[in-house]
Structure formats: structure tokens, C-alpha cells
């Protein structure tokens, strides 16, 4: 695909350049222009990405009356910090927060525990049918959840678990999701086996190897998984919508939607509530960013 038999243009160009004194400066100007152009595009793109978020923040601090004026105030006047406390008066926001933390936490713990165990089995142990089962696991990634949705709903209904948190938590304790098992397995495969063998000679059990050798080394991958699963459960709207009926049991996602439906939309309060759901996600990312970027490079596609 590369023009292999073309003359060596680069060196010819350089040779010519050394003959013409003005060339080097012209080249520098071109490089500077190009650099300026790149920054310009990046800045413009960043602005487009940030504008909605700034709009969100600005609206969340505005007075109810000031939200409907043109031209809009980008800096709220006056600042209504009490918008944030008003949200707590209008809906049981503390309750929704606690519910969401509970569901997200339990589902996450189970999902990480299950996926890391199963991935260890596939990556480090030999048993008949392993490769076939792994193929089955991979193919289940393709199945859209809508296909299993109705029977799963019927199952939880028969068990009498509708309007409980079990449907939002329990499935994740069983297997932890094919995608994450795959991701962790790819990561484990790259860890050297020598340490396993050494530990085994020292009399470590298989579980001991998993717990003391593999898990500590897999921290970057587990970090990525923690961030992704947190976002997944924290943001989930569909499952709570289907399984939860009682308002007190609502998660934040349902709670905010409820808030919108029974108010004559108070945009400032709605935006304040939205900021409060978003904040934990951004904080978590800021906290885990280093792990996260690293982990994507490690575990992503290059496995």
C-alpha cells in the first residue's frame, strides 16, 4: 500500500531546503499555522461539549422567574443556592439517594466478585469443555436483553419479588455479565503463570492463588470494571421502571422522572436534581481516571 518504489522524496526535499535559505522559515510558519488550526478545532469542540453542562449548572442556580428571559443570564442573578435544598423538600430525595446507593453497591459488589471468579476459572484452570463454554459466553454478549426480559419478569413475578430490589441485584451475582468476564479473562491471561506455580509449590490452594496472587495484580482491570458497573447501575432507568412500583422504593432515575411529571416543570429545580445525580459519576471518574485510561489501553481491544 505504501509507494515502495518512489524516489526518496523526504531526503530530496531536505537537500533542496538546505539550498534555499527561506524554506526553513516557511516550513516553520506552516507548522505553526497547522498547530494553531488544531488548537482552534479542539477549543471549538470542547466548547460544544461543555456548553450543555454549563447551561445545566447555570440553570440550576437560577431564580424561577429568571429562567424564562431572553437574552439568558449565563451568570445567575441572584444566585439561588436554595434550589438545591428545595429539591429535597419537593421529593424524598434523600430516600432516593439511599436506595440508589444500596442497589448500586450490592449489584456492583456481586458483579465484580462473580465476574472475577468466573474469569479466573476460564483463564487459569483446565477442565473439559472449557473452550466450548467460553464460546457460549462470548455469544451471549450478542443477545439483546429484551429477548430475555419478559420471561425474567414473569419469573420474578412468580417468586413474588416484584417491587423489591432483588431483580435489580440478584442477576448480577450470577455470572457478573459476559462482557466483564471476557474483559477480566483477557487481562488474567496476560499475567505470568510463574507466580501461580510458585504459590502452588508453597502449598497455596487454588482459591488462595486467585485471592492473593491474581486479584492484587488485576487491580487496574477491576478498577475499570468498578467504574463501568457503577455507572451502569447508577444510571439504570429501564429495570427500576419495570420492577419498582412504590414511590418510597424508587431510585434516583425514577425519582427525577417523577419530579418532572408532577410539577409544572420547574426547570431550575429539575436541573439542580440532575446536577446531584451527575456529581457522583464525575467525582468517581476524576478519582479513578488514571486507572481508567490505563485499564482501557490494557483490557480494551488489544487483548
Amino acid at each position: 500500500m505504501t509507494p515502495t518504489n518512489s524516489p526518496n522524496r523526504l531526503t530530496t526535499v531536505r537537500r533542496k531546503a538546505s539550498l534555499q535559505p527561506g524554506w526553513f522559515n516557511r516550513y516553520r510558519t506552516y507548522a505553526r499555522l497547522k498547530q494553531a488550526f488544531i488548537y482552534l478545532v479542539i477549543l471549538a469542540g470542547s466548547a460544544v461539549m461543555l456548553f450543555p453542562l454549563l447551561w445545566l449548572l447555570s440553570s440550576s442556580f437560577k431564580d424561577q422567574a429568571k429562567i424564562f428571559i431572553f437574552p439568558p443570564q449565563w451568570i445567575p442573578q441572584p444566585w439561588r443556592f436554595d434550589n438545591y435544598t428545595l429539591v429535597f423538600d419537593r421529593i424524598p430525595f434523600v430516600r432516593f439517594y439511599a436506595n440508589t446507593i444500596l442497589v448500586t453497591g450490592l449489584a456492583m459488589v456481586g458483579q465484580i466478585a462473580a465476574a472475577s471468579l468466573v474469569a479466573f476459572g476460564f483463564a487459569r484452570l483446565r477442565f473439559p469443555g472449557r473452550d466450548l463454554l467460553f464460546l457460549v459466553l462470548l455469544s451471549t454478549i450478542m443477545i439483546p436483553y429484551q429477548v430475555t426480559l419478559i420471561p425474567t419478569f414473569v419469573l420474578f413475578r412468580i417468586l413474588g419479588w416484584l417491587d423489591t430490589y432483588a431483580p435489580l441485584i440478584l442477576p448480577y451475582w450470577l455470572g457478573g455479565g459476559a462482557f466483564y468476564v471476557f474483559m477480566l479473562r483477557q487481562f488474567y491471561m496476560r499475567l505470568p503463570v510463574d507466580l501461580d506455580d510458585a504459590a502452588r509449590i508453597d502449598g497455596a490452594s487454588t482459591f488462595g492463588i486467585y485471592w492473593r496472587i491474581i486479584l492484587p495484580q488485576a487491580r487496574p482491570a477491576l478498577g475499570v470494571m468498578a467504574v463501568l458497573t457503577f455507572l451502569g447501575h447508577w444510571n439504570d432507568f429501564f429495570n427500576p421502571l419495570i420492577y419498582l412500583n412504590t414511590t418510597e422504593k424508587y431510585t434516583l432515575a425514577l425519582g427525577i422522572n417523577l419530579f418532572r411529571s408532577f410539577q409544572t416543570t420547574q426547570w431550575n429545580l429539575l436541573m439542580a436534581a440532575s446536577v446531584m445525580v451527575t456529581l457522583p459519576c464525575i467525582l468517581l471518574y476524576a478519582f479513578a481516571q488514571r486507572y481508567f485510561i490505563q485499564g482501557i489501553v490494557f483490557t480494551g481491544l488489544k487483548g
Binding site: M1, T2, T4, P7, N8, L10, I38, Y39, I42, F51, P52, L53, W55, I67, F68, P71, A114, V118, F120, L125, R126, F127, P128, R130, L133, L137, M142, P144, Q146, V147, T148, L149, P151, T152, F153, L155, P171, W173, L174, G175, Y210, L231, N235, F237, F238, L252, I256, N257, R260, A273, V275, V277, T278, C281, I282, Y285, I293, I296, L301, K302
Partner: protein
């Protein structure tokens, strides 16, 4: 990796123990596979052949649901809306995120700052981003029409107009291109620099390097992003449910929204199961097509070594 040697070894007690432990480790997944995938898939297919209203046991009706589906105009509308969304938002998003990743991969300062800015929208929970965009699209006081008014244009009704509602949701989807961008960026940084050096020796300029090195080396990543984003796009629900409820005039009746309405609003579980199966087949067909085409355009490093 081979199964046979381990099977042969299974006579030894050590190997037998290892096999037993192996099954124990994957047991959570095996149970999950049985309870939440295999049985539900079979049950789902059976339900799709029944009339089933949750409170009463299902009554077998054969292919009636599928026949009804063919004559259901809303089904075709939902399929159309979803397909339009998939074939527009996916390529637009992929091209945009690739372009951004290329920019980030240049020698620029504060890369991690820019990366964070572009990734940030992806971190906003769907519920918050739908509320935010509902407000942005507000015809009188939303951000979009406000900005348009600055330059003297009276913007459309966006979500309130049947011609603009779907494009609005596509525009909104482009706000979260940070996800695929991050994956592209990881891929770009993984391209060995000696390939670029070799191309330079061959006299390739920036443009030629892009076509001869960057793009071919990135095709596996593009392929991955294409498949994932396509599958996600097929399953859009929350935006439509909260922002438009499928309207106006069914312009944003996404497939999964229609499925949800049938299952949990009208309690036509059998019909919804049939809808789910058709969705499954549609996704399968699309991914199969993309996989088939990948032989032509996806380039794997191993192929170089063979030559």
C-alpha cells in the same frame, strides 16, 4: 487452549481436582446462564406463540402474533424510526469520535484536559442528560434556540415537531461521542511508531501516512466500535420514553419503546415477546452483515507477518 490434552490428563487426580475446581469457579456464571439466559430464551420463544396477559396463563395461538405484526403499522413505524436512527447516528458518531481522537493524538498540550472535557458528557447519567436536553431543546427558552436567536434565526420546535424530533435525538446522541473516542485514542496510541518511520522513509506525507498506516491499523477498532454502537443504537429507550413518549405522531416511536408499551402498558406479553424476537433477528442480521463485510475492510496485524 486445547481441550484434548486436559481431557486425557483427567485420569490423574491432580487434573481431576483442577477440573472440579474449574467448574466451581465458573458455577455462578453457569447458574446465571441457565436461569437468566437459556430458560428465558426458550420461554420467550414459547410466549411469542401465545396470547399472554400476565394474570392469566398463556394460551397457545401459533404464529398469530407474528401475522398480526406484519399488519401492524406501528410495528413498521417503530422499525423504520429505529433503522433511520441506527444508520444515521452510528456512522455520524463514529466519524466524529474518530476525528476527535485523531486531534487528541497530535502533539497538543493539556491532552488529559481535552480528553476529560470530551469524555465528560458520557459520564452524565441518561436521566440527567435527557432532562438537560429537554431543556436545551425547549423552543422558547432552551439553549439551542437562544443561540440561534443571537444570529437571527428562529429555531424549530425540535422535539415538538414531527420532522425535527428524530433529528433532535440524533443530535443529542452526538454529544456522547466521548466513549468511542477514548477507545480510538487507546488504539491510535498502540500503533507502532516504526510503521510511521518506515512510511516517512518511503516519502509519505501526513495524508499518505493517514491512509497507508493509521486507517488500516485502526480498522479493527473501528469494527469493534461499529458493532457495539450499532447494538446500543437499536436499544434506545430512555430518551424516547422521557422526552417524547414516541411522539409527535409516532415520529420517535423507537422499537424498544413500542415493545415496552406492549408489554408493560397494554400487558400484551405474547405480542411483546414476538417483537423481541424480531429485534433479536434484526440485530443478528445487521451484525452478521457487518461481520461478513469485515473480511474486505478490516485489517489484522497478523496478515502482515504472513507476507
Amino acid at each position: 487452549m486445547a481441550t484434548f490434552p486436559s481431557a486425557r490428563k483427567s485420569k490423574s487426580p491432580v487434573a481431576q481436582r483442577e477440573a472440579l475446581e474449574g467448574y466451581l469457579f465458573i458455577l455462578p456464571w453457569l447458574l446465571g446462564l441457565l436461569i437468566f439466559i437459556l430458560v428465558p430464551i426458550i420461554a420467550s420463544f414459547y410466549f411469542s406463540l401465545t396470547s399472554f396477559e400476565v394474570v392469566k396463563p398463556p394460551i397457545f395461538v401459533g404464529l398469530e402474533n407474528y401475522v398480526r405484526l406484519i399488519h401492524d403499522q406501528l410495528f413498521w413505524q417503530a422499525l423504520k424510526v429505529t433503522c433511520i436512527y441506527v444508520v444515521t447516528s452510528t456512522p455520524l458518531g463514529l466519524i466524529l469520535s474518530f476525528a476527535i481522537a485523531l486531534l487528541m493524538n497530535q502533539k497538543v498540550r493539556f491532552v488529559s484536559l481535552w480528553r476529560t472535557i470530551f469524555y465528560m458528557p458520557t459520564l452524565v447519567p441518561v436521566i440527567a442528560s435527557t432532562m438537560l436536553w429537554l431543556w436545551i431543546f425547549n423552543p422558547q427558552f432552551g439553549l439551542l434556540n437562544t443561540l440561534l436567536r443571537y444570529v437571527g434565526i428562529e429555531g424549530p420546535l425540535w422535539l415538538g415537531h414531527s420532522q425535527w424530533a428524530l433529528p433532535s435525538l440524533i443530535i443529542m446522541s452526538l454529544w456522547t461521542v466521548g466513549g468511542p473516542m477514548l477507545i480510538y485514542l487507546a488504539g491510535l496510541q498502540g500503533i507502532p511508531t516504526d510503521l510511521y518511520e518506515a512510511a516517512e522513509v518511503d516519502g509519505a506525507g501526513a495524508w499518505a501516512k493517514f491512509w497507508a498506516v493509521t486507517l488500516p491499523m485502526m480498522t479493527p477498532v473501528i469494527f469493534f466500535n461499529l458493532i457495539m454502537n450499532m447494538i446500543f443504537a437499536f436499544q434506545v429507550f430512555t430518551q424516547a420514553f422521557i422526552m417524547t413518549q414516541g411522539g409527535p405522531r409516532y415520529a420517535t416511536l423507537f422499537y424498544v419503546l413500542y415493545l415496552y408499551q406492549n408489554a408493560f402498558k397494554f400487558f400484551r406479553m405474547g405480542y411483546a415477546a414476538a417483537l423481541a424476537w424480531v429485534l433479536f433477528l434484526a440485530i443478528l442480521l445487521m451484525t452478521a452483515l457487518v461481520f461478513r463485510s469485515s473480511a474486505i475492510w478490516v485489517f489484522y496485524e497478523g496478515e502482515v507477518r504472513k507476507r
